[in-house]
Assembly symmetry: C2
Homo-oligomer: 253 residues x 2
DNA sequence: TACAATTGTGTACCAATTACACCATTTATC
DNA sequence: GATAAATGGTGTAATTGGTACACAATTGTA
């Protein structure tokens, strides 16, 4: 146990040396019918777009904060949300912060601190979302991943890191439960994988592999109404899906 | 651009709501001759041991901070060091913090804040290290992973998460460059893998696989002096090793 | 009724992983 | 020195997993 004097001295020094802020940046991947988009915000004050983000409140777990931020921007709660990297270079938002240095004394300017940002990525069906801008943005919108705007801050790095992580994790994590309807066809699920990976996969090999994971139930019905042969419907076997989330799958695409 | 009034109001609210501290906890795995240890600190004030840690200074990148903390505790610089998870539950160190609440007013007590902790893991040869306690510890020492003491705070969770991450990353990252001498034998390298994975591997299959990665140079010499047949020496092909670090290997053990 | 598009299913081939066997070298021991 | 014990080098067969590819069936439309 420290003495009172030790604690006071350490605290005074430390409060001077080590004050920092934590923010959360979310890369929200939105999927729907073979399209892949990212949720972005057009800044009121600057030319460019950024990722949705926010701050962690006192006494709030960081996962809860990420979920809250996401829910505020999309209206969707409890989606697939995963911490993937911390961005902590002090220069990462210096330019952005220093524009306010003349305006307000440093100690009263929240932005004068360096922010360490915890990156999360989320997977949602973008047709479920209602994009809602925050107080600093004039617009919140889904942007196609193949037609991205200019990013502010280091958000391009954050986006790219998230995409790399997602593609890597596809090798040993099942995905799709949040992104597919209750019942779906094999070609629909394949399109999701192809969209994420950015490449075509062989139809027959995809089916064998995904069925091999044992996370799907084949339903007796087919999806009628298409212009062609009616494909079978599948649903996720939630129990096995959850188990696979914990245990992991194996090997890569 | 925000107006002065907007900035002042936002800052005042935010500074009240969102102040947090960032700490770094390092799980330092030490290896030597088939043994695997973890660097731990015996607390001066409490019954129990904790992982080496510290705070990120203003204007210091977090990777630099982790490296500094590790160098301070071991005397070793620039080792393999990798961020693996952020621990941000506000209750994670509440008990530890509240013991000081009566002693010093909250606003002058550095520990009254919740700490969000960035977990790093490091791989070192423990025979190179000089364990050095910090100001809160009476002892800094290597503890065998099979005979661990009682952990303080949430450090047992951090340790277990680090070990799981290390084992997973073994599948797609080459390791050993920091842990093996310049020249080493295949059985020695195999022992390192077995130590990390906690299980025996087949001698012949291990060799084929590791050679297949193309990160080793077979040297013409053998290691004489052992009690048995002299094994060949190998060294890491640094160029291929670095490439494999970036590109990743494939598949799992 | 023929056709285009799409889905269901199967199979042959190659690569990686696993399991296992045999020989060579070194030192200790009789 | 012959032999045993321990360890290292190398190879091979069986299994599994991944890739490439072919053909039949269904559906709506021309």
């Amino acid at each position: 146990m420290l003495t009172k004097e030790e604690l006071e001295k350490f605290s005074a020094d430390a409060l001077e040396l080590y004050l920092d802020h934590i923010s959360i940046d979310c890369v929200v991947f939105g999927f729907h019918e073979g399209q892949m988009k990212v949720l972005m915000l057009k800044s009121k004050n600057e030319e460019g777009w950024q990722l949705p983000g926010g701050f962690v409140q006192k006494r709030e777990p960081i996962d809860t904060a990420a979920n809250r931020i996401l829910a505020t921007r999309t209206g969707i709660d409890k989606v697939f949300l995963k911490q993937f990297h911390v961005f902590g270079d002090p220069d990462r938002n210096r330019q952005h912060n220093e524009q306010y240095n003349d305006m307000v004394p440093k100690e009263r300017n929240f932005f004068s601190h360096r922010f360490i940002s915890i990156g999360y990525y989320a997977l949602v069906d973008f047709s479920d979302a209602i994009p809602t801008p925050d107080e600093f943005s004039e617009l919140c919108a889904w942007r196609d991943v193949n037609d991205l705007p200019v990013f502010l801050l280091d958000h391009e790095l954050i986006f790219n890191t998230a995409l790399d992580t997602l593609r890597l994790q596809l090798s040993y994590q099942p995905i799709g439960y949040n992104l597919m309807p209750k019942e779906f066809t094999m070609p629909e699920l394949q399109k999701l994988y192809e969209t994420i990976l950015g490449k075509k996969l062989d139809r027959r090999n995809f089916q064998r592999r995904i069925l091999g994971f044992g996370i799907l139930n084949k339903l007796p019905q087919t999806r009628k109404g298409g212009a062609h042969k009616a494909p079978y419907l599948y649903s996720f076997d939630l129990e096995n899906y959850q188990a696979a989330l914990k245990e992991g799958l194996k090997s890569g695409w």
